[in-house]
């Protein structure tokens, strides 16, 4: 069985500037991956490159056996990639409902199902994108990505700004989506411990390079390994 | 030193570009017909575009005099354009032949201006006279709200009132005006015998259409005006609505004379079948004035000498007999009353009456 997503020696950035310096990893269908790393490590850049909205320099991205490296972003979405951008980027002149329907693709996720996951959105369905609270925008961004009925979800800090109770619900929902429906996901999160239990694999980025790629479990289980890749000491060393 | 340069400054682009084209074509038609050497000098025409902006006209004039060493300036599509060069030509002592601009005051702004077009009062007054003679008692005037329009309104009204007529209303239309509806409705509601109209030439055709569409003609209101509204250049495209319009002007392409027949033929041949209008005539006769003056000075290109030679010139132009008033340097010419008629499938301004040797009434009155 081939991997759902295969990234090979990917170099990308913004215009001339290169942020990712050759990143490789794979993700199988139905599995999930935590993407970790400090501020500025290039996590967002990686996800955005998979979506196709950064400048690609070299390397390949293949998805479900098809090479997507040169495919336009809208085609990638059609191929089954759903995206929650870091800054949410809700379409501000569309209502909540239009935000969901404008990009919808057929599949199990419908407006009603998103509403049942986030009742708050249903209450605000006629509000326009720029009239939502930060957390509501976050919910909408996630709902919007689900409306694409993707095979792979790319979540860039999806928990940021959500109330704890919603975070819990959301994590549960994500688990259900990944385990129950076989959707794959790449999740970026600042608080590694929140998502490590949820994901099978982990990639840690450091200055545009992969510093750890492997199972998630050992990171959680062994605090020494966790610290080596993700904790403060390392941070101090780097800025000194 | 064997060339004699004429700097022709015209609006070749912008809203008044058609003026520029006609004048230029007229001037070129003259050169084509009369050769390019006069009194041993080769005439060279330097055409420049001022886009209808006065400070450009002024700069170009100055540059032509200082750098290109032109011997005469000519052209000037609009009054402010002509006025802006007045200080320059006075200082540099270079004659300037006004070929299109039509406000009376221009020639007073400098001793070095002469004019071969005409002045609005010159052909507005005859309309008033004709209207009076033809039993029109109540008139509404309708003019574009800028210098020439106001000139036309003033002088028509003055003459018409003097003859005992009544101007019931004076309507002015803004220069930028997409729709005539409210103004025409006003005219209609005033129920005059006739409406006297001056509009810049392109606009005239639209006006005419709406005039008919709105049923003013049916309501018995006669359309009279200066020849600008039945500009020969576009008259033929106006179609039926234009028929029967009475206008006064110094030139009609249909003017019946051998000189004119020849001119029109040559002009059309050289300009892709474009019909000459009064602006082309201004350009044509302007060149004649320059030629004749140079002839008279025997090739002496000195500005003062040229101006002196131009004063009092008299000749038979395609438009009829004309002369340059030695006192005012303005043109004296016949003004014709014309009616738009269908002549062999083409609309023409057909002349039916003549006011002979009309002077600019403004200066005549002073």
């Amino acid at each position: 069985m081939t991997a759902l997503l295969r990234i090979d020696r990917l170099v990308s950035g913004y215009g001339e500037a290169r942020v990712l310096g050759g990143v490789s990893f794979e993700l199988d269908e139905g599995r999930s991956l935590s993407l970790l790393g400090r501020n500025g490590a290039g996590k967002t850049t990686l996800v955005d490159t998979i979506v196709g909205v950064t400048t690609h320099h070299s390397g390949t991205i293949s998805f479900a056996g098809v090479d997507l490296t040169r495919t336009r972003p809208e085609r990638r979405a059609a191929a089954g990639i759903g995206w929650v951008p870091q800054e949410r980027n809700i379409f501000r002149s569309l209502t909540v409902e239009e935000n969901l329907t404008a990009i919808a693709r057929p599949g199990p996720w419908s407006v009603e199902r998103v509403y049942s996951m986030f009742p708050r959105l249903k209450e605000r369905r006629f509000n326009r994108g720029n009239q939502l609270s930060g957390g509501e925008q976050q919910m909408l961004a996630l709902g919007r990505a689900l409306m694409l009925n993707p095979r792979l979800l790319l979540l860039d800090e999806p928990l940021e700004g959500l109330a704890p109770i919603i975070v819990d619900e959301l994590l549960a929902a994500l688990r259900k989506i990944i385990d129950g429906e076989g959707m794959s996901a790449i999740i970026i999160e600042q608080k590694a411990r929140k998502i490590l239990p949820l994901t099978d694999r982990t990639v840690v980025l450091e200055r545009g390079l992969v510093s750890y790629a492997g199972e998630s479990a050992p990171l959680l289980a062994d605090s020494e390994i966790f610290d080596r890749y993700l904790a403060l000491g390392d941070h101090k060393a780097a800025t000194a | 030193e064997d060339t004699f340069k004429v700097g022709l400054i015209l609006p070749m682009t912008g809203p008044f570009a058609s003026t520029g084209r006609q004048v230029e074509a007229g001037a070129k038609a003259y050169i084509a017909a009369h050769g390019d050497t006069v009194a041993g000098k080769k005439i060279e025409l330097v055409v420049r575009d001022d886009a209808g902006t006065a400070d450009q006209t002024r700069r170009i004039a100055q540059e032509l005099i200082v750098n290109d060493k032109v011997n005469t300036l000519a052209g000037f599509g609009l009054t402010p354009l002509a006025l802006s060069v007045a200080p320059v030509i006075t200082q540099a002592k270079v004659p300037a032949v006004v070929m299109a601009a039509a406000t009376s005051s221009i020639t007073q702004a400098s001793e070095y201006f002469i004019r071969t077009s005409g002045t609005l009062p010159q052909y507005s007054v005859p309309v008033a006279r004709w209207a009076h003679e033809n039993n029109i008692k109540k008139v509404v005037t309708l003019v574009t709200d800028y210098g020439p329009g106001i000139d036309a309104e003033t002088w028509f009204t003055k003459e018409f009132k003097a003859k005992g007529g009544e101007v019931v209303e004076a309507v002015r239309i803004p220069l930028q005006n997409p729709d005539f509806a409210p103004f025409l409705q006003r005219v209609r509601d005033a129920k005059p015998d006739a409406v006297f109209v001056f509009l810049p030439s392109g606009v005239g055709s639209l006006f005419m259409k709406q005039f008919v569409d709105r049923g003013l003609a049916e309501a018995g209101i006669k359309l009279i005006g200066t020849g600008d509204i039945t500009d020969d250049d576009i008259l033929n495209g106006m179609g039926k609505p234009a028929l029967g319009t009475i206008t006064a002007h110094f030139y009609a392409a249909a003017h019946d004379s051998p000189e004119n027949a020849e001119f029109v033929k040559a002009f059309k041949a050289a300009n892709n079948n474009m019909r000459p209008n009064f602006m082309a005539m201004g350009g044509y006769d302007g060149m004649h004035a320059i030629y004749a003056a140079l002839e008279a000075t025997k090739g002496d290109a000195d500005g003062a000498a040229l101006i002196k030679a131009m004063k009092g010139l008299a000749w038979t132009s395609p438009r009829g007999p004309i002369s340059i008033d030695p006192q005012t340097r303005d043109i004296i010419q016949n003004i014709y009353m014309r009616e738009v008629k269908d002549v062999n499938g083409e609309l023409q301004n057909v002349e039916f009456a003549t006011y002979k040797d009309v002077k600019d009434p403004v200066k005549a009155g002073q």
Partner: protein, 286 residues
Amino acid sequence: MLTILFDGIAYGMLLFILACGLTITLGLMNFINLAHGAFAMAGGYITVVLMNSYGVSFYWCLPIAFLAVALAGLVLERLLYRHLYSKPHLDQVLFSVGLVFMSIAGAYYFMGGQQQMIQLPQELSGRWDFYGVGIGRYRLFIIVVCILLTITLQFLLTKTRFGSQLRAAVDDGRVARGLGINVSAVFALTFAVGSGLAGLGGAMGTEILGLDPNFPLKFMIYFLIVVTVGGTSSITGPFLAALLLGVADVAGKYYVPQIGAFVIYGVMVAVLLLRPHGLFSREGGR
């Protein structure tokens, strides 16, 4: 009195028909397309040439002008415009003014500088007298066409998914693409429709406004006024604005001709001071 009202409405509708394409390109696509008038002019010249040289009926000219100009718009969009969506507004101004200049010179070259005229079919010229109110037939025709257009456009833009996709693409093109909206196709199609509408406006406007190479510059201000006063977030806004401006302008010129020239600008400035985002824009809209 009622005649003036009718004339005002008709004049407003004429403004609207010319401006509604711009409502789409400027209002919805957020592209400052000052060359809108050039597309309108193209529609006008197509009509003039077809009617005067080939004797095509006026009614046929309208759809032909729409389609031909839409096609031209599409080609230009693919070749040039699409590179400019992401550029600053000022670049768009520069570009479209460049296009205006070229179109003016082009029109001079091919069509000459004089006013072009068309002869309307018999049934559209003249007017009816309806209990003392003069109803110009052509003016009535314009009003009817306008109302139909407005309804269709409003439906397309607010009630269809295409409309949402368009607005999403304008709000944030990068993210819209990342979420599967074919932004370039949406823009191309919209731009083509906008241009086509300009062409239609030009074809219908020739009779009343005339047509000469300066058309794009001469009427640019009026298009912009309608769109600005109406607000850029809907089609109905500019529609109502055009009505208001038309009636105000005609009535102003009829009743107080001395200040007739100021009316339309005065109304515009007053409206914009009171409602900076346009008379009929939703609060907080773009």
